[in-house]
Subunit: 148 residues, 2 copies
């Protein structure tokens, strides 16, 4: 159902073909959206492991984490300190970017396991490779009193 | 890299095989996590359309929305009013569930378009079918002053 007008289509083409001039607030908002999605999906895995909610959509949540993780590094590439990101993200870029690439690769492998092996193996593997806390302790100033 | 201990593996099998006894707070938290992820990814599409951020990860964001949308209906199946969900979610379940199923189907089709056609077409189609506002106006009590 293509309801978009020609004007909308032209705008979209322009949006996708025009180099984006992201200002600092846009950059910070973008990475907050990415990390907020990831945190929410990670919290869901926690709920499933603790049997607080049923695992009905487990594979979709594993796949979501892998997809979102694949977008995370790019969200930090513009050197714009602020928000919850510590300045060390950029001061220690080789370490930070290596961790983020590993995070993307390993969560992708874990999610894939759910399609080829079993949900138990996939979930176990995902929990092994999602070292959120290890990275956050070094690179994140968490806002106090905030829910995931 | 399988570091999970046998004990962890046993716990996971137990978690996935034991019927979850979700209490009301768990149920509300689960659907909040799902909708928070969706809102954040929708906000990212808005940033891309307005050229606030570059469209580098557009396809991953489109795929994420489709995946997350596929989990949304189940999150509302337990009849637990509260949070931002209006009681009409359950009072008008045939309409609500129809909208949610269409949302899942149409976002899946839009995301798929990005793999077979062009990112412009996929994004245009996704924006056509993501009638967040239309559904929220009827079924959501939005907390004031909250960011997406």
């Amino acid at each position: 159902m293509m309801k978009a007008s020609i004007a909308t289509a032209v705008c979209l083409v322009a949006a996708l073909c025009t180099p984006a001039q992201a200002n600092d607030e846009d950059v910070k908002e973008y990475r907050e959206h990415v990390m907020k999605s990831l945190n929410a999906q990670a919290a869901i895995l926690g709920q499933i492991v603790s049997t607080a909610v049923p695992p009905d959509n487990l594979q979709a949540h594993l796949d979501s984490i892998a997809l979102l993780a694949s977008t995370a590094l790019a969200a930090f590439e513009p050197k714009v300190p602020g928000g919850e990101a510590k300045p060390d993200v950029w001061a220690q870029w080789p370490d930070f970017s290596k961790r983020m690439r590993e995070f993307a690769d390993k969560t992708a492998a874990a999610a894939k396991l759910g399609h080829t092996a079993s949900p138990e193996e996939a979930l176990s593997n995902m929990l092994d490779v999602m070292d959120c806390k290890g990275c956050h302790e070094v690179y994140r100033n968490e806002k106090k009193g905030k829910k995931p």
